[in-house]
């Protein structure tokens, strides 16, 4: 591209030591230049003062972002623990503020730091612009190795090529030279969303994530402590390591009966059950309450809340009968117990869900329902 299409950005000079660049910065700001910048390979103490810079205003952003993080995280945790999913943890109140502090602290620091960097990139580096006239210049290459430099911009109101050149020479600058730029090179946005750039970005992300994962979780994985994950215990769908035959669920020892699991002697003999079984429970308040809870849980979906055979299953399943029929009312307790234990035709057995005593309690509750449904005159007194 021909030279004349380029515009001058600045005049630059290099210096050898931090002391020289501090001196140069001081001279430049004293001489009244305003549009200039200093570049060093590492932070040089005292530069802000030498350049006559005001205190950075980014601190205010940090404060605002930090407060934002603190307030929003506390509000979020309050919402979670009070409204969305109240859980009692360790017997503590739902709103246990001490537990919020570490999270609030982290979010505060995180938001303050991340948003600060974003703000800086947007405000000072004019994101999404990612190019700068000084990029890729021989000047910058020297700076990023071992030199210190000053760049007085052409848009400075006092800029005059000859004067500035003389000035830079006077303050000890070496390798004084102009930097040109091409407006087209500074075209914002385009390069940022260039598919090639985005592709490389995505690839980098995948590679870094994959490498991190495989290094820390596979290659270099050290179990921090193993006494929780490797226990001698039965795991679902895995052969047991405790027993030779590899079976985890042990059949009962022959000739023994587990507590509370007496074998049922009337299998397939409803009549005998009705004749021989006696309800061992009395209709106390607790027993009725217990029976009611079982009934509402296990029976009501089919037989209805009041045993009228009118549940919402009606029409979708062989209609469960009312339990207020003369037949059932006149049954002894043992017969109802037998139906719950064994099931009857399409009604399945509930022996595995409802314990023996609870089955008897359910029978008693059913009696309450039946009595209520067929109240006699005398009951009203």
């Amino acid at each position: 591209m021909p030279m004349n299409e380029k515009q001058q950005f600045s005049l630059t000079a290099l210096f050898d030591t931090p002391d020289e660049i501090i001196h140069a910065a001081h001279e430049t700001s004293s001489a009244g230049y305003t549009r200039y910048d200093v570049h060093t390979p590492y932070p040089v103490h005292g530069m802000d003062k030498a350049m006559g810079l005001r205190q950075s205003r980014l601190g205010i952003f940090v404060l605002v972002f930090g407060l934002l993080g603190a307030v929003s995280s506390v509000l979020f945790m309050s919402w979670v623990t009070l409204v969305d999913y109240p859980l009692v943890i360790g017997g503590k109140p739902f709103w246990s503020w001490p537990a919020f502090v570490p999270v609030a602290f982290e979010i505060t620091v995180l938001l303050a730091a991340v948003l600060l960097v974003v703000t800086m990139i947007v405000l000072y580096f004019k994101f999404p612009n990612i190019s700068h006239p000084l990029h890729d210049t021989p000047y910058m290459k020297r700076i990023s190795s071992d030199k210190f430099g000053i760049s007085i911009q052409a848009d400075d109101p006092k800029f005059n090529e000859r004067e500035v050149r003389a000035f830079l020479k006077k303050i000890g600058g070496k390798e004084i030279g102009p930097v040109y730029f091409d407006l087209e090179d500074l075209d914002h946005g385009q390069t940022m969303f260039d598919p090639k750039f985005l592709g490389v970005l995505a690839l980098t992300a995948i590679l870094v994530a994959g490498a991190t994962y495989s290094v820390f979780n596979q290659i270099l994985f050290l179990e921090p402590f193993s006494w929780m994950s490797t226990q001698a215990k039965q795991k679902a769908q895995r052969p047991s390591e405790l027993f030779k035959d590899g079976i985890g669920m042990r059949p009962p020892v022959e000739g023994t009966v587990a507590r509370g699991f007496l074998p049922y002697p009337f299998k397939g003999k409803p009549d005998e059950a009705g004749k021989n079984l006696v309800n061992p429970l009395f209709a106390t308040k607790e027993v009725i309450e217990r029976g009611k809870a079982r009934y509402l849980t296990y029976c009501s979906p089919c037989h209805g809340n009041f045993a009228r055979g009118d549940s919402r299953l009606r029409g979708q399943f062989p209609n469960p009968p009312t339990l207020h029929s003369d037949k059932v009312r006149n049954w002894p307790d043992g017969s109802i117990y037998h139906v719950i234990t064994e099931g009857q035709n399409v009604m399945p057995s509930y022996a595995s869900q409802i314990s023996r005593d609870d089955r008897w309690a359910t029978v008693l509750y059913l009696r309450v329902l039946q009595r209520a449904h067929n109240a006699k005159e005398s009951d009203l007194k």
Binding site: H45, G46, D48, K49, Q55, G59, P98, V101, P102
Partner: protein
């Protein structure tokens, strides 16, 4: 930049009035403490523990700050390091302050009662550590170690004033590297022995760090106050705001560190909710102690935090001076809060509490004027001095 080394170097005596005031305070403090021991020996012994821990904070903390400068290769603190060295000399006086407590161990430390210990399974288990002989031995060893390192650091530093030998800096760096772990252990033991063992059934593994955070703050604040005073009266070479900023920033950092550690201790105990651990906080959350606890958070964290938050406030000498005094007071309150609930279930305050603080202020003034009479106020031979004087942020 070089500093003018006059014929007498940087030896500048404090005015006699300061020394006199120091002696008056010292004697007044001793008088109050003695009277306190006569009137209520048990209470005074507790006050004495607070006084001892406070002095240990400033003294050992100052030795630590000297070591920190060497091991970190800090430049900004070189022109004012002598103040830390002078304050470090206070370690030599620790036995004097501790002595009365040794005669009243029985009044303050439950574990010294042998009949109690033998009947108490927990205390019996701890008795190989918590027994009077070992307690005294630990005190002697810790005192000896602190004194030794104080002596070595200052001797090398002072020698450098005349020899200008850079090797002395290297030697002190090596010494500092040895001192750091020694200091960590000895300060933890100090905290455990004198403060934590007041409630011998209770224990907290973070207790030593908690005391350490206050120790550094106290030593730093004492030095900051003295440095600013000396600077105001022209005793020190001209220091830039940047050097004071560093003092303020370090102070600010440790204010946060204290809060961080204090809260960590609380959070873990609160979360686990084990009765044997929560008792300690429970006894500080009833009978009026809850107000002291809240006051501590405000005085030791909230106020100094906001007072030193901005960059400018850390360079504002008036603000910094005020905060230095403030934090010294906060550390005193912290120790009061650590020690006193063992003395009395409900919050109580008495004139005896003034004895040791007055005594210690006097002591610091006397020691300082003694030291300044004999030593250069600026380490004129330190190779980093010139850079320290022209330190910029």
């Amino acid at each position: 930049m070089s500093i003018p080394v006059s014929a007498e170097g940087w030896r500048k005596e404090l005015p006699a009035s300061v020394t006199r005031l120091g002696w008056i305070l010292l004697i007044a403090g001793v008088a109050i403490a003695a009277l306190g021991y006569i009137v209520d020996a048990r209470r005074m012994a507790f006050d004495n523990i607070i006084g001892y821990l406070f002095l240990a904070s400033v003294a050992a903390g100052s030795v630590f700050l000297v070591a920190l400068e060497y091991i970190g290769g800090a430049v900004w603190s070189v022109p004012t390091r002598r103040v830390n060295e002078f304050l470090g000399a206070l370690v030599l006086l620790l036995p004097l302050i501790a002595l009365p407590i040794f005669f009243h161990l029985h009044d303050v430390y439950h574990w010294t009662h042998e009949e109690v210990v033998s009947a108490d399974k927990l205390l019996a288990g701890k008795s190989p550590y918590l027994n009077v002989n070992f307690f005294v031995l630990r005190f002697v060893v810790i005192f000896a170690v602190w004194s030794l390192f104080h002596f070595l650091f200052t001797r090398n530093s002072t020698k450098q004033d005349t020899t200008k030998d850079q090797k002395l800096t290297t030697i002190n760096i090596r010494l500092a590297a040895v001192f750091m772990p020694v200091f960590a252990i000895s300060l933890t033991l100090t905290a455990v022995d004198w403060a934590m063992s007041l409630e011998p059934h209770w224990s907290s593994t973070i207790f030593g760090v908690y005391y350490f955070s206050g120790t550094v703050l106290a030593a730093l604040s004492a030095a900051t106050y003295i440095i600013i005073k000396l600077h105001e009266y022209g005793y020190l070479p001209k220091l830039q705001r940047d050097s004071f900023y560093s003092l303020g920033a370090l102070m600010f950092a440790f204010i946060n560190f204290w809060a961080y550690i204090a809260f960590s201790q609380f959070l873990l105990i609160w979360y686990a909710d084990l009765p044997e651990e929560t008792v300690w906080f429970m006894s500080r959350w009833r009978n009026g102690w809850e107000y002291v606890s809240i006051l501590l958070i405000v005085v030791h964290f909230a106020i100094p935090y906001f007072a030193l938050l901005t960059q400018d406030s850390k360079m504002d000498l008036k603000r910094l001076k005020l905060m230095a005094i403030w934090i010294l007071f906060a550390h005193l309150l912290d120790l009061y809060w650590l020690v006193m609930p063992t003395y009395s279930e409900s919050v109580s305050f008495s004139w005896t509490e003034f004895g040791f603080p007055i005594l210690l202020v006097g002591l610091v003034m006397v020691v300082l004027s003694f030291k300044m009479k004999r030593n250069n106020l600026v380490p004129v031979g330190d190779p980093k001095l010139a850079r320290g004087l022209s330190f910029r942020l």
